[in-house]
Symmetry: C2
Subunit: 143 residues, 2 copies
């Protein structure tokens, strides 16, 4: 397997991902890239995003509207997310008890080869303080 090549586009995307702590959509990242003057194609963004996600370098989520959101993965081990419904900020959390509960419940029903998804959504302290800041999936980049 030939090693991955270093391209301007890859570097640009990686940079943007590193500068945002919250989940962002492909379309969003693409727009951000363009606003920075980086000339990267939408197709490339999708290509890279998928490649990185498959390589385990990115965490992914789906919004209720069907968009896939990506975010640089902090810890390598299993974890869940606590996401702010206002600003999109995400905190990685762990919960041994939940893992156990899932295993237990599944086993109790005769299920094997268990996997699970947990996501907690709420309003973070900052957003709770100043209501009305409807920057659901805000940028905050460039300019």
């Amino acid at each position: 397997m030939a090693p991955q090549r270093e391209t301007r586009q890859k570097r640009a995307l990686a940079t943007v991902l590193d500068q945002t702590p919250s989940f962002r959509s492909a379309q969003d990242l693409f727009a951000d890239l363009r606003s920075r003057g980086e000339n990267v194609g939408l197709t490339t963004v999708y290509n890279q995003l998928r490649a990185m996600a498959e390589a385990g370098a990115l965490d992914t989520r789906r919004t209720d509207e069907g968009e896939t959101l990506y975010r640089r993965c902090g810890t390598a081990h299993h974890h869940h997310h606590l996401v702010c419904r206002q600003c999109g900020a995400a905190v990685e959390v762990e919960g041994p008890e939940v893992e156990q509960w899932a295993e237990q419940v599944a086993g109790h029903h005769g299920f094997v080869d268990i996997a699970h998804t947990v996501e907690i959504v709420g309003t973070c302290a900052a957003c709770a303080g100043r209501p009305g800041s409807r920057s659901h999936r805000g940028h905050g980049a460039s300019t």
Copy 2:
């Protein structure tokens, strides 16, 4: 507000929903309806599905591929799902400890107005017994 009307299409959809214990996509339900000879339009299926979901009569999920799945809601109170990745069968489960854990973790990070999603995926006893039955989103209806 005028009461809902009783139509052949609504009844047909309701019947199909009642006969399946697992989550099914709109496309899937539509195909099933047609295979039964029921002449219902895809648009109507979507219309009804959305109306029922908003009315709280249906539970909804999203597959990784972006499809929305619907299923008649058994219990009215909060619960989660244990789904079989092979046949799609779903069991409604509860977990007081998880609810508490979510509240606790969220509060610890300063988040308020908490909501959460939990989904356990596994292979049910039946499917584990006869591997290879790749009916990912099986019908099981008619014929």
